[in-house]
Amino acid sequence: MVSITRLSPEGVLPDELEPEAPRWRQFLPLIIVFGVAVALAISVLVYGNPAPAGSDGFWIIVGTRLTALATIVLVAVCQSVATVLFHTASSNRILTPSILGFDALYVLTQTSLVFVFGSAAAGMEGIPKIIAQSGIMVVFATLLYGWLFSGKRANLHLLLLVGVVLGMGFGSISTFMQRLLTPSEFDILSAKLFGSIGNGNVDYLPYAAAITLLIVAYVWRKRKIYDVVALGHDVSVGLGVHYKREIVTILVLVAVLISVSVTMVGPMTFYGFLVATLAYQFARNDSHSETLPLAIGIGLVTLLGATFVLKHIFSAGGLITVIIEFVGGVLFLIVLLRKGLR
């Protein structure tokens, strides 16, 4: 066996490992992707730092950027894992949680909480509140999307269209309610909902990271089961997988991941789609042990790369999500048109 540590870029010893070469070679895409990600992460941290390297000021700036970096990493992981899981649950690769209005739903839940309970709810902090909010969101999402997927005649395009329009509707209702809020309530709410990569919600960061890590670990343990789930209801049941329970679990996990991501940077419709579609292109097979890490890696590269290029080359840091929306939207159209052609 070749241990992973020996495969790190500085420790590659291909000659000794001649017979086992294919073993590390199969990790090559992953190594490249994560290598690029790490390089980009370091660049984001260090590049264009006005203070001289090594000085106190230098490290202070790096420290501030570290928060932004952590936000990016979290969002990338959440979106990639959520999308791949969602594809598994829905047994197709066009739907993504965001296109179906998952994050609009999150915004709606948050807004209605403030709307119903006033600034008391908005001002409240702490873990119980996060759990309560996520709970509502999760229940709602599970009911809604569980219902959408369970239809006997569930038609892919109908699902998509309903999801897209629902997302638009959620957006309308949220904005509508936000208009009815008092200015102070609105301020508190909007500070919550629309963070951006520049000023991630630092207070949430540790919780968000912990939750995400737990979920990723859980998903990784269940990856083989999810391979079966991806084959659809009948096959799963035939192979002894409790299909319905797994689907519900997946939807719950997706809801949590999306809510983490939306809290950090706000809604991003096409990012997950972009990442997952690229990941499937590079993966050698459809098993989750292949697609999940690749998706995470590509998610990191995309978001870090966009951040780096926009922030340091075009000095337009606020536009990252817009650019990704554009690229992802175009890709989505292409995929959709191709599927329509077939």
Partner: protein, 360 residues
């Protein structure tokens, strides 16, 4: 007018052509609705048909009158009231009338031309193109004036609608549902570009205010250009039969001796002008052109020409009701009509979708 007679006259020999051109367009829902409406629809008493329409007109007039008297300022109060009436209330009500009728009518046109009942300015990305045009005028020609803005905006809407139609033609198998999806996604991509430009030029906030469909800023001196869409609506009425025939598909339309491409472009241009002008003056009116024609078709069947007055009335009624809700729900302030409309439209749209789902 004679065109439709030709079409029906030929349908004796050409029934299969007509059927194949038409039936994929219309889900069974509409056919059932036609059956239900047959009694009033087919019975040849033309005078009997006038009454419901007159009644509906009366209702809409009532709504418009209500709109005149609802608002923060008491217009029944003396001389100043009368002045305010002419400064804001009358222009606003006229704008509701014009925009509602035009957007609903152009919804019908789009649905005929794309042979798909889920298409309108919202679900084809046309409005997003119009707002891109609007933004570009603000960036490159801020002094161009209202007419220029509308021209550019309409031109962009035209490009957008044409792009949409070209893409649709390239898709060989277009299921009914994939068509609006493509449109919505196209709109999302275009609006990402618009947002990008707006952020770059510091116009994001301004764009938000423009784009948020609202009749708040419609006052004397700022709405008159909206009369352009009255012409659009009129032209839609005049071209109704031709557009209906074009809706049967290129083969049928050509075989009855119609210049299909001309009608297609003319229809698209009408829609574009309606979308462009409305976007500049009022903003985004989501789902209006989708919900009203579908509701009318469900009740009355698919006779486009006789439906058109109903569609226009329905459009006016819906916009007016939504605007009234927006004005009263948070009394001294206003909720933009686009939000109310978005909410209502989304619910109705999904109801229509689900209806078609359960009918198979």
């Amino acid at each position: 007018m004679s065109l439709v007679k030709d079409a029906t006259g030929q349908s004796g020999q050409g029934t299969p052509v007509r059927k194949s051109g038409r039936s994929p367009v219309l889900p069974t829902a509409s056919r059932v609705a036609t059956d239900a409406a047959e009694a009033t629809e087919v019975s040849p008493a033309p005078r009997a048909k006038v009454w419901p329409l007159a009644l509906a007109t009366l209702v809409v007039v009532g709504l418009l009158a209500t709109s005149l008297f609802v608002g923060a300022y008491d217009v029944t109060n003396g001389e100043l009231g009368a002045e305010m009436m002419w400064i804001t209330r009358v222009p606003r009500t006229v704008a509701l009338l014009l925009a509602g009728a035009a957007m609903a009518a152009s919804g019908v046109v789009m649905q005929m031309l794309t042979q798909n009942r889920f298409v309108d300015a919202t679900t084809s990305g046309t409005t997003e193109w119009a707002s891109l045009g609007l933004l570009l005028t603000a960036i490159f020609a801020p002094a161009i004036g209202l007419a220029g803005r509308m021209a550019v905006s309409s031109a962009f809407a035209f490009v957008g609608a044409m792009t949409f139609m070209v893409i649709l033609r390239r898709v060989v198998i277009r299921t009914t549902l994939v068509v609006p999806l493509i449109g919505i996604m196209l709109g999302a991509v275009v609006s990402a570009v618009t947002t990008f430009l707006a952020v770059q030029t510091n116009l994001l906030q301004m764009l938000g205010t423009w784009f948020m469909g609202s009749f708040t800023s419609v006052v004397r001196g700022r709405y008159e250009v909206l009369w352009v869409v009255a012409i659009v609506t009129l032209l839609v009425f005049l071209l109704a039969d031709r557009i209906t025939v074009a809706g049967l598909g290129k083969e049928v339309a050509t075989s009855v001796g119609m210049r299909y491409e001309t009608i297609l472009i003319a229809g698209t241009a009408l829609v574009a002008v309606a979308a462009g002008v409305t976007t500049v003056v009022v903003g985004f009116l989501p789902f209006l052109g989708l919900v009203v024609p579908n509701a009318v078709a469900m009740i009355r069947g698919d006779n486009v020409r006789s439906n058109l007055p109903w569609v226009c009335l329905g459009g006016v009624a819906l916009v007016t009701v939504c605007d009234l809700i927006g004005r009263t729900v948070r009394a001294p302030f206003e909720v933009p009509v686009s939000m109310v409309l978005g909410l209502v439209g989304c619910v109705v749209f999904i109801a229509i979708l689900m209806r078609s789902r359960y009918r198979g």
